[in-house]
């Protein structure tokens, strides 16, 4: 009967996601995103991946939410009740079309069956031995991301107001 948990978590994640994008205030949107992250983390734990569930919970529901709150505070939290910029049907047609196509393609080929027992390496073994290059690349990405963020944030401060916007960065 444990499938009920799956269904609940899945439905909850979807509801949170839908509310996140339709919320009028940006802060509320960020909170719903945190809820969605938490439920997705629950799903991953149910799937038998507790380590990644914890990471997703702390990063997705914690770090990213804090980031959003900071950014929204700096950038201003106007309520957005603006109409859609494109002709009304286009987003719906494209999104539903994509869903239908991918859904048909994937689910029709999927056979129901028992989940096989785990015999691969544990998470820690995989991460640190056979995929160590991944870890190095992740560290590199994190450094570049932080450097990029610092570089971007420094742009506004150094230039005097007279200079035209969009002057080239030296480091390009």
């Amino acid at each position: 009967m444990e499938i009920i948990w799956y269904v609940l978590a899945a439905a909850g994640a979807l509801v949170c996601a839908a509310l996140a994008i339709s919320a009028k205030r940006l802060l509320v949107s960020a909170i719903w995103l945190a809820g969605c992250s938490a439920l997705v983390a629950l799903l991953m734990y149910l799937l038998g991946a507790p380590e990644i569930a914890v990471i997703e919970l702390s990063v997705g529901a914690g770090l990213v939410t804090v980031l959003f709150v900071f950014a929204i505070n700096i950038a201003g939290d106007e309520s957005t009740a603006l109409p859609v910029a494109l002709p009304k049907p286009i987003p719906w047609i494209l999104a539903i079309g994509l869903l239908a196509l991918v859904g048909w393609m994937v689910l029709s080929k999927l056979m129901g069956g028992e989940m096989p027992p785990d015999y691969g390496e544990t998470f820690y073994a995989t991460l640190w031995t056979s995929r160590y290059l991944d870890v190095l690349l992740q560290v590199a990405i994190i450094f570049t991301g932080v450097l990029g963020m610092m570089g971007l944030l420094a742009e506004g401060k150094k230039r005097p107001a007279a200079e035209a916007p969009g002057s080239d960065e030296e480091h390009s």
């Binding site: 996601a17 992250s37 201003g76 944030l153």
Partner: protein, 103 residues
């Protein structure tokens, strides 16, 4: 009943993807765009973890999902920084006001 779990997870992942893409098409606020990206990536992560479990290699699935989380968080960081800078420079986060890259 447990043989429907893959269907449920895949269904959720695809629907999350759909929600994200609809949001990218319909939203006018830049920060909402970042939210939409985050939602889409959660769907991708779910598929990766599921794939790891289905092929009896949970370690590999989780490792790949970890890479996705890291990369995607950095995307959110840079995206939010850009949004903040755009707000400072152009004064608005509305997509309709940011159309300088056109003909």
């Amino acid at each position: 009943m447990s043989n429907y779990i893959p269907h449920i997870i895949l269904g959720v992942a695809i629907l999350l993807l759909g929600v994200g893409i609809y949001a990218l098409l319909a939203t006018r606020n830049l920060i909402k765009v970042i939210v939409a990206l985050q939602i889409m990536v959660k769907g991708a992560m779910l598929v990766l973890v599921l794939a790891g479990k289905m092929t009896a290699q949970p370690g590999l699935g989780q490792t790949l999902a970890l890479t996705v989380i890291v990369a995607d968080t950095i995307v959110a960081v840079i995206g939010l920084t850009l949004a903040v800078q755009i707000r400072r420079r152009f004064g608005s986060l509305d997509v309709k006001d940011l159309t300088r890259l056109k003909r």
